[in-house]
Symmetry: C2
Subunit: 415 residues, 2 copies
C-alpha cells in the first residue's frame, strides 16, 4: 500500500492483516453434525448459536446436495414435537489416509462420516528410497486397501498422506525426510498426479494430533499437545481447535529443543537435544554400554531395546538408570512445552507405548513439579496407545477435512 505519500508515513499499528477465517454456516453446521454423529435441527441451532430459520435453510440445502439426510432415530418420549435426527450421508464418498514409514506403510479408508471402511499394511523398504519408489509402494498399498473395501479409486475423493520429516503442509513439499533420498520433494503433486486424486500431506506428529482431534481425547479440547516418541520425538499442537504448525508452517521440533547445555550428541549434529536422551537411538547406544554388547552380537536395535527393557524390569541397575534418565529429560521437555504453550492437555501418543518407564508416574510427577511453581494449573497428561493404524487414521482425517473445506468452505478449489 505504501504507494501514496511516503512523507506521511506517520502511521502505527500492524501493517499486515490479521489472518481471518470465515466459516459459512453450512460448513459449521455440517461439521457439527459429523462431530455429533446425529443431531436434530433444534439442537444444531442451539449449538451453533444461530436461528432455527437458518438451520432449516442450510440443512435443506445440504439435504438437497445429498450430503446430509434425515434418519429415524430412537428417542425418549418427551413433550413437544419430536425432533428429526439429521446425519451425515456416509455414502456420499470416501477418503483414504496413507502413512509412510521405514518399517511398514499403512492405509485406511473412511467414509464421509468418518467411519472406518478398510485398512491395509504393506511391508516397506527399510532404507532410504527415492520419492518415486516410495510413492509406487504407496500407490500399491492404496489399491490394496481399496480392494479390501471393494472399491475403486473413483470411489475416493481425497487422499491424506503422512511422512516423517520436515513437511510443508501448505506447499505440499517434503523438505527433508528420513525416508527419502531427495530434499524438497514435491510429494503432494507427484502423488496426486500418480493416483489421479487430490492429495494433502503432513508430517507424522501432526497426523497424530489430528487423530486425537478427530477420534480421540482431543475432541472435546481446544488446546492440546500430542507428543510422540519413536525414532525421534515429535509434537503436534492444536490451538483454538486448529493445527498449529509454527511460524513457517513446518511444524514444531520438540525433539530438538535443548534440555542440556553441551549435552548428549543428537543425530542432528547438535548437543543436548531432547531426542538425544529419549529417542530409540539414544536408548540403544547406552544399552550397548549397559549390557556390554557389541554392535555385532546385539542384533537389531529393536531387539536390543527389548532386552534393555526386560533387564530394567528385572532390576538391572544400569538398564534402569537409562530409562530413568530418559524419563527425567522427557519431563523437562514436557515442562517446557507447558511453560510456552500452556495447553490444557498433553497427550503422549503413538502406535505402541513400549517402555512404560518413560510414562511412569514419576515422570508425570516430575512434569508437575517442574511447572507447578508458576501459579497456573498444570495440564493433564494422558497416555494413549492406539496401534499402528493411528497415523493413517490421522491422514484420513486430514483428507476428510480438506474435502469438507473444498465442498463447503468459502474458498472453492476448482469447483
Amino acid at each position: 500500500m505504501p504507494d501514496l505519500i511516503d512523507a506521511l508515513q506517520t502511521g502505527c499499528g500492524p501493517l499486515l492483516p490479521v489472518v481471518t477465517e470465515t466459516r459459512p454456516l453450512r460448513q459449521r453446521l455440517f461439521e457439527s453434525l459429523r462431530a455429533a454423529g446425529a443431531s436434530s435441527r433444534a439442537d444444531l441451532a442451539r449449538w451453533l448459536d444461530c436461528s432455527p430459520a437458518s438451520v432449516t435453510a442450510v440443512s435443506a440445502e445440504l439435504i438437497d446436495a445429498g450430503l446430509v439426510k434425515e434418519i429415524d432415530a430412537p428417542r425418549e418420549p418427551s413433550r413437544g414435537r419430536p425432533p428429526v435426527a439429521l446425519t451425515v450421508n456416509a455414502a456420499v464418498t470416501a477418503v483414504a489416509g496413507v502413512k509412510l514409514t521405514d518399517d511398514a506403510h499403512t492405509a485406511v479408508i473412511i467414509d464421509f462420516s468418518g467411519a472406518l471402511i478398510a485398512q491395509a499394511t504393506l511391508q516397506s523398504a527399510a532404507h532410504r528410497q527415492t520419492m518415486a519408489a516410495t510413492l509406487t509402494e504407496a500407490e500399491a498399498l492404496l489399491d490394496m486397501a481399496l480392494a479390501k473395501a471393494g472399491m475403486t479409486r473413483a470411489s475416493l475423493s481425497w487422499v491424506g498422506l503422512g511422512i516423517a520429516g520436515v513437511v510443508d503442509h501448505a506447499a505440499g513439499i517434503v523438505l527433508w525426510s528420513p525416508l527419502l533420498t531427495e530434499r524438497n520433494a514435491p510429494l503432494r503433486e507427484t502423488f496426486a498426479a500418480a493416483i489421479g486424486l487430490p492429495v494433502t500431506i503432513d508430517n507424522d506428529a501432526n497426523l497424530l494430533a489430528l487423530a486425537e482431534l478427530w477420534f480421540g481425547a482431543g475432541r472435546g479440547m481446544t488446546d492440546f499437545a500430542v507428543v510422540t516418541i519413536e525414532n525421534g520425538v515429535g509434537m503436534g499442537l492444536v490451538l483454538g481447535n486448529r493445527m498449529f504448525r509454527g511460524g513457517s508452517g513446518l511444524g514444531m521440533e520438540l525433539g530438538h529443543t535443548k534440555v542440556q547445555l553441551d549435552g548428549a550428541l543428537c543425530r542432528c549434529g547438535s548437543r543436548g537435544c531432547l531426542e538425544a536422551y529419549v529417542a530409540d537411538y539414544a536408548l540403544v547406544r547406552e544399552a550397548q554400554t549397559a549390557l556390554h554388547f557389541n554392535r555385532d552380537e546385539a542384533g537389531s536395535a529393536r531387539e536390543l531395546l527389548e532386552t534393555l527393557y526386560d533387564e530394567a524390569k528385572a532390576g538391572h541397575k544400569a538398564a534402569l538408570s537409562i530409562f530413568r534418565r530418559a524419563g527425567r529429560y522427557l519431563a523437562v521437555g514436557l515442562a517446557n512445552v507447558t511453560e510456552l504453550f500452556d495447553p490444557h492437555l498433553i497427550i503422549i501418543s503413538g502406535g505402541e507405548m513400549r517402555f512404560d518407564f518413560l510414562y511412569a508416574d514419576a515422570v508425570l510427577a516430575e512434569v508437575q513439579a517442574l511447572t507447578a511453581q508458576t501459579g497456573r494449573t498444570a495440564p493433564k497428561i494422558e497416555i494413549n496407545a492406539w496401534g499402528d493404524m493411528v497415523w493413517a487414521r490421522g491422514a484420513a482425517a486430514l483428507a476428510l477435512s480438506a474435502l469438507t473445506e473444498q465442498l463447503l468452505g468459502t474458498e472453492r478449489v476448482g469447483g
Copy 2:
C-alpha cells in the same frame, strides 16, 4: 449438543468450534489507514482486496462518523485522476497507557492516530503494595500525564494498564504480581471504577510485543517473539499478527522453561529455569562470589551488577564467565523458542540493554548453531533498546486497539 441420540454417537471430528474472528471491512479499512498513515481509496481497495465501491461506502461512513478525514497531500504528477488521501482523524479522542513497576511507573498519552501527545514518570514504592495503593499511584500518574498534555480525563476514552506478573488479560485479573500483596487482584475493574474510563490490562512482556507490533520492527511481520530480560525473563509472542497468550490466556513463561536438569535454583522454587541463569538476581548472586563481596558491602543489586559489568569489561575472568554462562543459557532458551514456535524474528527488547555480553555475537551465533541443524531457516534476532517508555507505549497500543475494536468491531461493548 449431545442431547439427542447418544446411541448414535458415532461421530468424528472436533466437537468444539474453531475460534473464528470476523473483522468487518470498516474495521479493516480503518486499521489499514492508521497503519499506513494516509492512503487513497484506490490504494485501500487494492490493499484490502475488495471493490472500490465498498471502499467508497465504508470510507464515507467513517468520514460521517468523524473518524476519518480527507487531506490535501502532496503527490507526484501522474496520469489519471489524482487520488485523494484519507487519514485517521487524530483529534477524535486519545488513549493512555500506564506501566507499573517497582521502580518508576510510566505513562503516555497518544492520540487516535497513535501519535505521542505526552508522557510522565512517577517514582514508585520499591516494595510490594496493595492493589489499592498501587492504583492510587497510577491514578496520580495518569493525571500528571493529562496535565502535561493539557487534557482532562474526559478527553480520554480508554486506558491500557501493564504490570509484571501472571495476568489474565481477558478476565482483567492479576493472578500474581511481584508488585502486589494480594493474589487474584481485579485490577481492570478496580482501576476502571477509580478513573471512570474503560481499562484493558496485560503483562509487561505482552506490552513489549505490542509495542513492537505497533511501533517497531514487528509492524511488517506476522510471526515474531519478543524476549525481555530484566528482573525476570519474559516473552511476548505474535502469531498471525495477533498476540498469542498460551492455551489459558495467561502468557508464556519463557523464564521458567528448563535449560538444565537439576540446575540453578530459581526464585520460583524449581531448579534449572532459564531465569535462574540470566535474570538480574541470578547474576547478582554469582557476582557476590566472583567479586568476594558480602551482602553488606555490596550496596544495591544494581550497583553490584554495574561493578560486575565493569570488571568483566576490564577482563576479570570470573566476572566474564558469569556473563558468558548466562549468554550460553540464553542461547538455549532462544533456540527452544525457535524449535517450538519457529518465528520469523526474535526481538530482544526492553528499556535498557545493559549487559551487552548477553547480546554478544557469540550468543546469537550459538542460537544459530543450536537451531541450524533442523533444516529450516533460523529466525533473525534483533536487539532493540527502546527506553523506559516502551512499555507504556505498548499499553497505549493495547488501549487503542481495544477502543478501535469497540468503535468498529462486530462485538459492540455497550454501545
